[in-house]
């Protein structure tokens, strides 16, 4: 059976589901705060509204400012398509490995931080500077988790990691647990969630991600917003693909029957992730910017610890 329809499904799935995921998180947070909250489809409506509006550019904006939303969305889209969602049998997943995935996200972040500096405003600069400070700790933390997983599986390729976790009796390992905690902390930071950053804040001085994109409007802003939603989906899929790959199809079972099971389990994982994120965000307060370094330094150290445990235990 040709895998082409499944490859296309993967590419479309990650983009189409992402706003819904954001909608669920917002709904959960609203309900926990005693509000009714917006409809689940509100993020779709917001994006469509932005797409219909004109784009306003500052006089000092260069060509990079207009090109970057497309670049970063594409990079994040590709990165999200690489992470196995409902099956491990796709060619798309083999384009890049886990290290390249981290680097693709790094490219997207590099581009967006440059966009924040482009117009030459103080808020754009503060956003870029803080976003890069957060990234400078989150990215190595994620790479140490990559080392840990790669040592266990002897590969950095994502489909192989998922298949290994599915088929081998990995058991409960301290390293994996530390890695999971570290990756979750990184995911919170990279997606600008509480306690690192507040995606719904109204005070500019406390913004990080939102301050960086303050000058964007219209279709450019729509792309950036959509890219952040896809990124949230990417991190949830990544945690699911590495640590909870159950229900995923493989290359051998690529077909309609496995598709049902794969999609069903993927939906359950995403839904659970979104609810947990909502609950967590409601139950914790945002940190001061300079406490973030301690939080992410913790994630980094946990990652190193996980890797050292495995390096040492492999030789025994």
């Amino acid at each position: 059976m040709s895998s082409v329809p499944f490859e296309l499904l993967q590419l479309i799935l990650v983009v189409v589901l992402a706003p819904l995921l954001t909608g669920i998180v917002r709904k959960v947070k609203a309900r926990l705060l005693g509000r009714r909250g917006p409809a689940l489809v509100q993020p779709y409506r917001d994006l469509l509204r932005l797409l219909r509006k004109e784009a306003v550019l500052a006089p000092s904006a260069s060509w990079l400012f207009r090109a970057i939303p497309y670049m970063m969305f594409t990079a994040i889209w590709l990165a999200a398509a690489i992470v196995p969602t409902y099956t491990t049998g796709l060619m798309t997943s083999r384009i890049a490995d886990l290290i390249a995935l981290v680097a693709l996200l790094g490219s997207a972040r590099f581009a967006l931080a440059l966009a924040g500096m482009d117009v030459g405003t103080s808020f754009g600069g503060i956003g870029s500077s803080r976003e890069m400070m957060i990234a400078s700790l989150a990215e190595p933390a994620m790479l140490t988790v990559t080392f840990t997983v790669a040592l266990l599986v002897h590969s950095t390729s994502l489909p192989q990691i998922s298949e290994f976790m599915l088929t081998q009796a990995v058991g409960i390992r301290v390293s994996l647990l530390l890695g999971l905690i570290s990756l979750t902390m990184v995911a919170l930071a990279e997606n600008a969630r509480i306690p690192i950053d507040n995606p719904a804040t109204h005070l500019e001085l406390t913004m990080v991600h939102e301050a960086m994109v303050l000058e964007y409007s219209g279709r450019h802003l729509a792309l950036i917003e959509a890219a952040s939603m896809v990124k949230l989906l990417l991190y949830l899929s990544l945690i699911a693909a590495i640590f909870l790959p159950w229900g995923m199809g493989t290359e051998q079972t690529l077909g309609w029957a496995a598709l049902g099971l794969g999609l069903g389990s993927y939906a359950v994982k995403l839904g659970t992730g979104a609810v947990l994120l909502g609950v967590f965000e409601t139950s914790i307060a945002k940190m001061r910017v300079f406490r973030v370094a301690e939080f992410l330094g913790g994630a980094f150290l946990l990652g190193i610890l996980a890797a050292i445990f495995l390096y040492v235990s492999q030789g025994l």
Partner: protein
């Protein structure tokens, strides 16, 4: 190959002569240098691609009865390629750049001499030729640093450079002395053949690390590098940072992998630790730095660290007889050597273009150059992405390979290495992430935003002679990132030479896939990433243009409703680095912020000052300097003795030496 080398060296000599001849002949000097470099580079690439056998020659020069031995094997050929390819493009740039130079005759004669000396180091096959050309390389580059001698900081940078270069050469003399042994044979073939004891080879290892490491800029021997590299004219900075450090790494590789014999596992421990510290400290320095060229020079320190980590891993794997992994780590390190030569030369040339257009190196007085200098900006952007190890450019490929070697480090049997390798990997990851921060700062402050000074506002794009070489480097950065196999093919014979028995390094790789070990495991494809990104981007652009509004309006920046037209309200390089200064700077550099706020009613301006202390300078060099002056003060009396006392001292010295000889017999 030797014919090509001879032709090239002859042309360099001719160019140097023309430079000395007294007139301002830029075109002849740089044209001849570029041609000579191109000839050698093409010959070296052909030699590697077609696996020519090693060639050697003995010239009746140098020490009597010994002659000068030259030899070109695959390791020499690879470094000849790196050095001369970069030198060819940099010389072309020199054609356009030297019009901006105040005193070109301080550069012209020494520039070809510097290139020739670097080439000679790479082909030397005896200690005498090696050391003489090494010293010639140091002195020629020292003279080039002094080209800007009217600035005080250039003079002190040159003095520090001379001191450190002498220290390095001194260490190398001792290293070759031990290698030559009792027989006193100076040629490399004899050194290779003579086995060394454990103690002697350890001494050679330490001296090689000291000698070649000080030239390459390995921490803590890096202090001279940023001031010296940034003081020279920009195309010479590109040569020193992008190319000369590679010659130093050649010396290290030649000594540790070829001449000294089989390595011991703890060499790997030491080299990996030095590399990781160098990478991290180099990039942290760079983040704190706001002088464009000095910042780039600190990034050289960082990248040397990355290469040294790879070399250290290769030593450790080789000591434990994991030859395939050693070949992987070595290929990763050497690929990074090539990549760094490309993007660092590109970035220094870009900094030179900025300096030529604005007269400024201080980032706080630049800004918005992307509009005035679009072509330079694009080339600099590609260099920035490449040095930040982001796909799809070449820097990512070599760091990806280094990470793959680090992941395989769990197969090393020694406990110390098992602890060290993941920590070094984490430090490398941190360094890569910090490099990205630093280059967002550089590109964002220099090329984006609004001009911060009148000079930056009036900048004009530089001429084609300067843009074309930058474009050339940028294209190579992209090509090696997309099709790394082209370089891997050239590196396989080098790995086979240095690690015999390793088989074909990265055997599973092809045009599409880069496969470090087995085809069934980790792989990366730059081509697939670029193809996928292109297709997705086209789909995205088509969809947006079909379904979204295409209207654009120009209006004042929003800036939360309070846009301020003055460019001082922008974020500066100092403010951009402030979060990282808080996170890392307070501990590593003892960073202190001091605010001097005038009392109410006073009309003077408030001042904000940041003080940083270099831990290596404060902890190592300052005490040494103080000790030297203390001892010199105490010994000053020896200069004012009577002749009787001097004779007594000489007699005592003679007796002492005779005693030592008598005891040691």
């Amino acid at each position: 190959m030797l014919t090509a080398l001879g032709t090239g060296l002859g042309l360099y000599a001719l160019a140097s002569g023309v430079g000395l001849s007294g007139r301002r002949r830029f075109a002849a000097v740089y044209g001849l240098s570029a041609f000579a470099a191109a000839v050698i580079a093409i010959a070296a690439a052909t030699a590697l691609a077609e696996a020519w056998p090693a060639e050697s020659a003995t010239l009746p020069l140098g020490l009597p009865w010994l002659g000068a031995h030259l030899r070109i094997d695959t390791l020499s050929a690879f470094f000849l390629l790196v050095v001369n390819f970069a030198a060819a493009l940099i010389s072309l740039y020199g054609l356009g750049y030297d019009a901006h130079d105040a005193e070109p005759r301080r550069v012209l004669p020494f520039y070809p001499l510097f290139l020739a000396a670097m080439n000679l180091v790479l082909v030397a096959d005896d200690a005498f030729v090696f050391l003489v050309s090494w010293e010639l390389m140091s002195l020629a580059s020292w003279l080039l640093v002094l080209a800007t001698h009217r600035r005080d900081e250039s003079r002190s940078a040159a003095f520090l450079y001379l001191l450190m270069a002498s220290l390095g050469t001194g260490a190398l003399i001792f290293a070759f002395g031990i290698l030559a042994g009792d027989s006193g044979l100076y040629d490399f073939a004899a050194m290779r053949a003579a086995p060394l004891g454990a103690a002697k080879s350890a001494a050679v290892f330490a001296l090689a690390l000291l000698g070649a490491g000080s030239k390459a800029g390995v921490v803590p021997l890096h202090v001279w590098l940023p001031p010296a590299h940034s003081a020279a004219p920009s195309h010479v900075s590109a040569l020193m940072s992008g190319v000369m450090t590679k010659v130093a790494l050649y010396g290290l590789t030649r000594l540790l992998f070829d001449l000294v014999g089989p390595p011991l596992w703890w060499w790997g421990v030491a080299v990996i630790a030095l590399g990781a510290i160098t990478a991290l400290l180099g990039v942290l320095h760079a983040v704190m730095q706001h002088d464009l060229k000095r910042l780039l020079a600190y990034h050289t320190v960082e990248n040397i660290g990355i290469v040294v980590i790879g070399l250290g891993l290769a030593l450790a794997f080789r000591a434990d007889r994991l030859d395939a992994l050693a070949a992987l780590a070595l290929v990763a390190a050497l690929l990074h050597v090539f990549n760094h030569a490309m993007f660092k030369s590109l970035l220094f040339l870009g900094a030179g273009a900025v300096q030529a257009a604005t007269g400024e190196r201080d980032m706080e007085r630049l800004g918005g150059l992307i509009r005035a200098m679009p072509r330079t900006a694009l080339a600099f952007l590609i260099g920035s992405v490449a040095i930040s190890a982001l796909p799809p450019f070449n820097g990512f490929v070599s760091e990806w390979l280094t990470f793959q070697a680090i992941i395989e480090g769990s197969r090393l049997p020694q406990w110390l290495l098992k602890f060290e390798v993941p920590v070094a990997g984490a430090m490398l990851a941190l360094a890569a992430a910090l490099a990205a921060v630093c280059f967002v700062k550089v590109f964002g402050v220099v090329f984006l935003g609004r001009p911060r000074s009148p000079k930056a506002a009036e900048a004009q794009e530089v001429g084609t002679a300067m843009v074309a070489p930058m474009a050339g480097f940028a294209v190579v950065c992209a090509l090696v990132g997309i099709l790394p196999i082209a370089m891997i093919d050239l590196l396989r014979p080098v790995a086979a030479l240095l690690i015999p028995g390793s088989g074909d390094a990265l055997a599973g790789s092809n045009m599409l896939w880069l496969v470090p070990l087995d085809p069934g495991r980790s792989s990366y494809s730059g081509l697939a990433v670029v193809a996928a990104v292109t297709v997705l981007a086209l789909v995205l652009v088509a969809a947006i243009h079909r379904f979204a509004s295409a209207r654009v309006r120009r209006a004042p920046a929003w800036d939360c409703g309070f846009p301020d037209a003055r460019s001082e309200t922008q974020y500066t390089a100092g403010s951009f680095a402030q979060p990282l200064r808080r996170v890392f700077g307070t501990t590593v550099f003892a960073a202190r912020e001091h605010v001097d706020m005038p009392a109410p009613g006073e009309t003077r301006a408030a001042r904000f000052e940041v003080t940083l202390k270099d831990p290596v300078w404060e902890g190592l060099y300052r005490p040494i300097g103080q000790a030297v002056s203390l001892v010199a003060d105490r010994l000053n009396v020896v200069q004012f003795l009577t002749i009787r006392r001097y004779l007594t001292m000489m007699f005592a010295a003679l007796v002492l030496l005779l005693l030592i000889v008598a005891v040691s017999q």
